[in-house]
């Protein structure tokens, strides 16, 4: 029991989209180092519940780093101190007893706050709807081996496709740009033969929608790549820009 931690938490509480929010202090004890960060918050919420207080609302689902639902800014860093790690994968052994930890939502104009640490990332769906796919109807596909794809290209496409759509890139960017997210999808399909027929149109439409949603421009800070839980490279942004430029001048 003696390895359990006692922590001082500063958590953003906001009761609704139009309400003012503030950082509220909590002290929590009995935190074991094996707990995930979200299990620590579950533990806090059970305490709050028992005391008749309102639990802290936060989003999470798979709790193994793949669904992209969770996302907190922990001590000022999207998804916390460990690199290539989602909030749900982060374990409390990364902290020491007595630490003060601040917990905030992913903040951006494009991600309005719903309640406490929950934000609305619907903008990402609207960007994908503009072209983040290959337009092929069910039943219209040729044999899977009819289109060879080099292993090198398939691996590069997979690197881009591993984006989980969490939005940490936006939260970390000083411009709240969604460029890493958008470029990951643009690049995945640009690297594959299946993506070629709609390549220009896709880049144009998705970038236009990104602007419309209120995300800023990329100015090469690189913060997005640093916090990305899937370590997606900013080189994808270069691919997106090239495709967008080519499409725009045509």
């Amino acid at each position: 029991m003696d390895n359990h931690l006692t922590l001082n938490l500063l958590i953003w509480r906001q009761s609704g989209p139009e309400q003012p929010g503030m950082m509220v202090p909590y002290t929590i004890s009995g935190v074991s180092p094996e707990m995930s960060f979200l299990e620590m918050l579950d533990h806090l919420n059970d305490d709050l519940s028992r005391r008749g207080e309102r639990p802290v609302e936060f989003d999470s689902d798979c709790r193994e780093g793949i669904c992209g639902t969770c996302g907190l800014v922990i001590n000022g860093i999207a998804h916390g101190p460990k690199s290539a790690c989602t909030t749900c994968e982060l374990r409390m052994r990364s902290f020491k007893s007595g630490d003060t930890i601040s917990v905030e939502p992913f903040r951006a104009t494009g991600f309005p706050i719903v309640r406490d640490l929950v934000v609305d990332r619907g903008a990402f769906d609207r960007i994908i709807a503009k072209g983040g796919y290959v337009s092929v109807n069910t039943g219209a596909a040729p044999d899977g081996n009819a289109i060879p794809v080099s292993k090198f290209d398939a691996d590069r496409a997979m690197d881009a496709a591993s984006c989980i759509g969490c939005g940490a890139c936006v939260a970390a960017c000083p411009n709240a740009s969604a460029s890493l997210f958008v470029s990951a999808k643009v690049a995945q399909l640009a690297l594959l033969p299946q993506g070629q027929p709609e390549r220009d149109h896709r880049a144009l439409k998705m970038v236009e929608q990104m602007d419309r949603e209120g995300f800023g421009d990329c100015s090469n800070h690189g913060e997005c790549e640093a916090v990305c839980p899937k370590a997606i490279s900013i080189s994808h942004i270069a691919i997106m820009r090239r495709d967008f430029m080519r499409a725009a001048v045509q």
Binding site: G16, S32, E34, M35, S36, L38, E39, H43, D46, L48, S49, R50, G52, E53, R54, P55, E57, D59, S60, D61, C62, R63, E64, G65, I66, C67, G68, K82, E89, R93, V114, D120, R121, G122, D125, I128, A129, G132, Y133, V134, V136, N137, T138, G139, A141, G144, N145, P148, V149, S150, K151, A154, D155, M158, A161, S162, Q188, L192, Q194, G195
Partner: protein
């Protein structure tokens, strides 16, 4: 064995190879002009839901799509790791539609319907084509062709994969297809909605009642048919590999309105999960079955051996799967691997702090293939394991133990994927149909996409063409009545109670009872105790659980409270079903029914049936209906992987 009149499976006549072809050729169609006049509700956006919604919209139907997540891309199919089966025979190793059919029926321990499984094997090849065309970045060989790996329960390599993230990549493919239709205006998307009830008009499914999870409002939606793709119920165990918001609520409420629930006792306990570490844990993490391709499972031969794995010499290790099942070795099906692991741990050979874990060792694979090759195949899984346990599997064997993962049971459906409520179709893990008593690895993704892309689009047309339903609005009186009931049940949960225990504590207790007595090994007495305990806990829950907050706002506690209430009711049915099934088959292992060497012993004479339960009321006994299973293409025999 009497066949229940409620359970007409509507299997087309003729040889199994011809059934689906004949069905497609003869089925009534809805003309393009009439498709536009039909609205279909699809609940859930996992592989089954997203693929169904996109395909129906492409065909011209108006689709309303609902999910509980904040985005349809996050449905739990996204977490599937290992791969998807298809009878492509690209490896020239003897695979065929017939062999996949054969493996799936045998893997399911002869408790699935032949006609459905054959169709599944048939359309498996189309799924791969479709996903490749969507730009799913499957693993490739250097020559540019698709790569395969082998998976449990098969002796051919028919599993297609995208690193250890196959579910994610297939999910994003189906999500892309769905969002394309949203952009076209043919699908209207409703995220953060939880279906709380189904609305029947003249006995047919015509709408749903939802809670808008953002603002708590109760909403109504009308349609000509409802398609449920809401996944499985493993989270009844509290600790499982499923996402924390996975639940049985939508399916359960349809059950209470007349949809029979089939084989609830068939649950899959997956052999390779990271063992539980403490009481505060909220979920268990799966380590893909693909790891058993290269990892070797072992425990120390000596009981209670406290040495580090590296200190245990080769001749003091028991590679128990290779020893007991030489033909399949580490690649035996999941139910068999799980039970074998439990057995060695029960006998005192388990490792780790709790003694409930076995080693999954990559030492030989790293020697044989080199670290780089192993990293290429399993890098993301190794990293995940390292992060969670603080142990590096490149240096020391993983510790694994079985955990609830998938549920073969679900709402009963006929060949057309329609439940006993006309118009209510059920797809993917939410139905009971294709996996019998045990699902083979890489077959869940196959079934979800088969149902959504290639089966439902045909069968729902036949239903709609035959019914000629008129349009109804949400102002129909049937909606008033159901909405009122939903509002009352939400209000009952929120009623202030002086509870000591939180929702999570109740759920965790329920999970413990299920795991102990309705888990990997079951017996008569334990099941009766479980039923009694579940009833007591359920009564206590409704008297004492404290739900903070209000109804008309985002309130995660209220969401969980409703789901846990339904888990209590389902849990009792799981135990009841396990009690009536006096045999062992697949994931359902009754201690009273085993062979001399401890394997599952089926009773085909008395139990070759689908057990489908009819709900009779809150405190009434449910009624069991039987659909006999007829095997015309496979010989019923004891399963052997030795």
């Amino acid at each position: 064995m009497g066949k229940s009149p409620l359970l007409d499976a509507k299997i087309p006549s003729g040889p199994v190879e011809q059934k689906w072809t004949v069905f497609r050729g003869d089925a009534d169609l809805v003309s393009p002009a009439n498709k536009r006049k039909h609205t279909i509700i699809v609940v859930g956006t996992g592989l089954a839901g997203a693929s169904a919604a996109a395909s129906l919209a492409e065909m011209g139907y108006n689709v309303l799509s609902f999910c509980i997540q904040d985005s349809p891309r996050r449905a739990h199919s996204v977490a599937a790791q290992g791969g998807i089966n298809a009878a492509k025979n690209y490896q020239n190793d003897g695979d065929s539609v017939r062999r996949l059919f054969h493996d799936t029926i045998k893997g399911g321990d002869f408790r699935a319907r032949e006609a459905n499984v054959y169709r599944l094997a048939e359309v498996s090849v189309n799924i791969i084509d479709q996903c490749v065309a969507q730009g799913v970045p499957f693993a490739r060989e250097y020559g540019g062709t698709l790569a395969n790996r082998s998976f449990g329960g098969a002796q051919v390599s028919r599993t297609f994969y995208a690193r250890g993230q196959t579910g994610q990549q297939l999910m994003l493919g189906a999500y892309g297809a769905l969002m394309r239709q949203v952009n076209e205006g043919t699908v209207k998307m409703f995220p953060r909605r939880e279906m709380l009830d189904i609305v029947l008009v003249d006995g047919k499914a015509r709408g749903i009642i939802c809670r808008n999870l953002t603002n708590g409002e109760i909403e109504r939606y009308a349609a000509h048919a409802v398609v449920l793709c809401t996944g499985g119920y493993s989270t009844a165990y509290y600790l499982s590999t499923n996402a924390v918001s996975c639940n049985v609520t939508a399916a359960w409420r349809c059950h209470k309105r007349g949809a029979l629930f089939a084989n609830p006792c068939y649950t899959q306990i997956h052999p390779t999960c990271i063992p539980q570490s403490g009481d505060s844990q909220s979920k268990l993490t799966l380590m893909s079955e693909s790891l058993r391709n290269d990892g070797r499972v072992w425990v120390p031969k000596a009981k209670h051996d406290q040495r580090r794995p590296s200190e245990i010499p080769e001749d003091e290790r028991d590679y128990f799967l290779e020893r007991r099942y030489p033909a399949f070795g580490n690649l035996v099906p999941r139910d068999i691997a799980s039970r074998a692991s439990k057995r060695v741990c029960d006998e005192g050979h388990g490792v780790g702090p709790t003694g409930y874990a076995v080693y999954l060792d990559f030492g030989d694979a790293i020697k044989r293939l080199g670290r780089n090759k192993v990293q290429e195949r399993y890098g993301n899984l190794f990293a995940m394991y390292h992060e969670i346990t603080d142990d590096d599997p490149y240096d020391t064997p993983m510790r694994i133990y079985p955990a609830p993962h998938y549920t073969m049971g679900g709402l009963w459906v006929d060949y057309n994927l329609m439940s006993t409520i006309p118009g209510l179709h059920v797809l993917g893990e939410a139905n009971f149909s294709d996996h019998g008593a045990n699902r083979l690895g890489a077959s869940a993704l196959m079934q979800g996409l088969a149902d959504g892309y290639f089966v439902l689009p045909y069968t729902i047309g036949a239903y709609l063409a035959g019914e000629r339903l008129g349009a109804i609005g949400t102002d129909h009186e049937a909606f008033d009545a159901v909405e009122q009931e939903v509002k009352e049940s939400v209000a009952a949960l929120l009623k202030r109670k002086k509870g000591e225990k939180t929702i999570t504590e109740f759920h965790r207790e329920l999970g413990k009872v299920l795991w102990e007595d309705v888990g990997m090994s079951r017996h008569h007495e334990g099941l009766e105790t479980a039923i009694r305990r579940i009833r007591e806990m359920r009564a206590e829950y409704h008297d004492a659980v404290f739900v903070p907050g209000e109804g008309e706002e985002l309130n995660r506690s209220l969401e969980m409270a409703g789901r846990v209430a339904d888990f209590f009711e389902l849990a009792e049915l799981m135990a009841r079903d396990a009690l009536q099934r006096e045999e062992s088959c697949g994931g359902h292992f009754r201690q009273e029914h085993r062979t001399r060497d401890g394997e599952a012993k089926r009773d085909d004479k008395n139990f070759a049936f689908v057990g489908a339960w009819e709900y009779k009321g809150r405190d009434e006994e449910p009624v069991l209906h039987k659909e006999p299973l007829v095997f015309e293409n496979m010989e019923l025999k004891q399963r052997s992987y030795k």
